[in-house]
Symmetry: C2
DNA sequence: CCAAAAGTGTTATTGATACACCCATGC
DNA sequence: GCATGGGTGTATCAATAACACTTTTGG
């Protein structure tokens, strides 16, 4: 099936590719894996793989996610399907792109760092990427940034409980701008999506912060 | 894209399916075609077809659109990709769904009605549909209804020039609710997306209406 | 002159923004 | 007692929502 001489009646390959986001060191980052083989040997790329005939697209995405991160049960959303005929130089391959959000804390476990040739790269300083993966990644970043402004999607990047200042910081990192503390807190508490845990975070030489958590781990749209 | 050995995996079929919307007789309608062959012989379904190896997904969608409606150069957007393993009883088939908007006037031309076994069906009174096409159609309706409220996407359903009352009616049909005339006009004119044509529509026993058109046929987001 | 749709402003309410000081703790 | 981040309220401005009458035409 290495023909570039396309047969009209042959089926294309179908893959899933994942844009896996996390936030660490005050930056929005995405996972990249180094390709071992041709094409683009040695280049960075998004994690992905061919779908198997018995699995749904989402199952394929979850499988890849689990393989690369060791996690499961995180926010996952279908992004877009990319199918330009020449996007893979070997053969016709259509890819269904997904994006996932993982709190950094869930990735600090030893097992998740076992895989070599895997990096978490700030989305605003990209290396050269294989295939059309730069386009896919930028598409995902745009979608995430848009969605942050009218939903509570950031819950997918937060640890189970957090200070309001940490939540604000998360918004600021993603939208790449600063927010007013008092207005931010008012709005967040007004959504009714947060619950005080009753615990406090004693963290340094300052007043301890109340810890909050999301009532339900579900995306909710404002407005 | 870990696997380079394509032969380990049998490729699924890949189709595009289209939800083609229009508005006539005060109702939002979608195109349905009667299936001739198994599976679901005789059942209504969304227009669609297998993608060819040399064409992009959007080209495939445009091809199907042209075949069924005779039109081209209308609003077309990728909706979602549906890939449950059992969605087609014969074999694994993944479908990339698109939705299109066509002004009813463009469909009144004789050629577009040549195709037998094709209906424009109100989206709130669906017949039984083949495959998972009901799910796809409902997904499209939801997307259209949402998008109408924060963009000028309705331009895709309007004729070249129109009265403001016709534009308002279009919104009302799609969102399935009524709008205040004065607020509607204020908001629409405030967007700056409309231009007076200078012409008037003399239509019946009443004051003639100014005719407007969209400055550019492009989707623009409010807010 | 009657019927039918076009056209037009003001007020009230709501939501968004701007802005500065005191609090509780560790060292 | 001082440095550090936590926590709080009010006033202004902008956007949205509610609401009813006059105008222009054809018949």
């Amino acid at each position: 099936m290495k023909n570039t001489n396309y047969d009209e009646y042959e089926n294309p390959g179908v893959t899933v590719d994942l844009v896996i986001f996390t936030v660490s060191e005050d930056a929005l980052k995405a996972m990249m894996v180094r390709r071992a083989e041709a094409p683009y040997p040695g280049a960075w790329s998004l994690p992905g793989g061919f779908i198997k005939l018995g699995e749904s697209l989402e199952e394929a995405a979850l499988r890849v996610l689990k393989e690369k991160t060791g996690v499961d049960n995180v926010y996952l959303e279908q992004l877009y399907t990319f199918g330009q005929p020449e996007r893979d130089p070997r053969a016709r391959v259509i890819t269904v792109a997904y994006f996932a959000l993982i709190p950094w804390k869930q990735l600090e476990q030893p097992e998740s760092n076992k895989i070599a040739d895997l990096i978490w790269n700030p989305v605003d300083q990209l290396p050269e990427l294989a295939f059309d993966h730069e386009e896919i990644l930028k598409f995902a970043v745009r979608r995430l940034r848009t969605k942050v402004s009218y939903s509570n999607i950031v819950y997918g990047l937060m640890p189970k409980s957090f200070r309001l200042s940490e939540l604000q910081r998360m918004y600021e990192i993603i939208i790449n701008g600063s927010l007013d503390k008092r207005n931010f807190r008012k709005r967040m508490l007004a959504t009714g999506l947060l619950r005080e845990t009753g615990k406090k975070d004693i963290n340094g030489a300052h007043r301890p912060a109340k810890l909050y958590q999301f009532k339900k781990m579900e995306i909710t749209y404002f407005n």
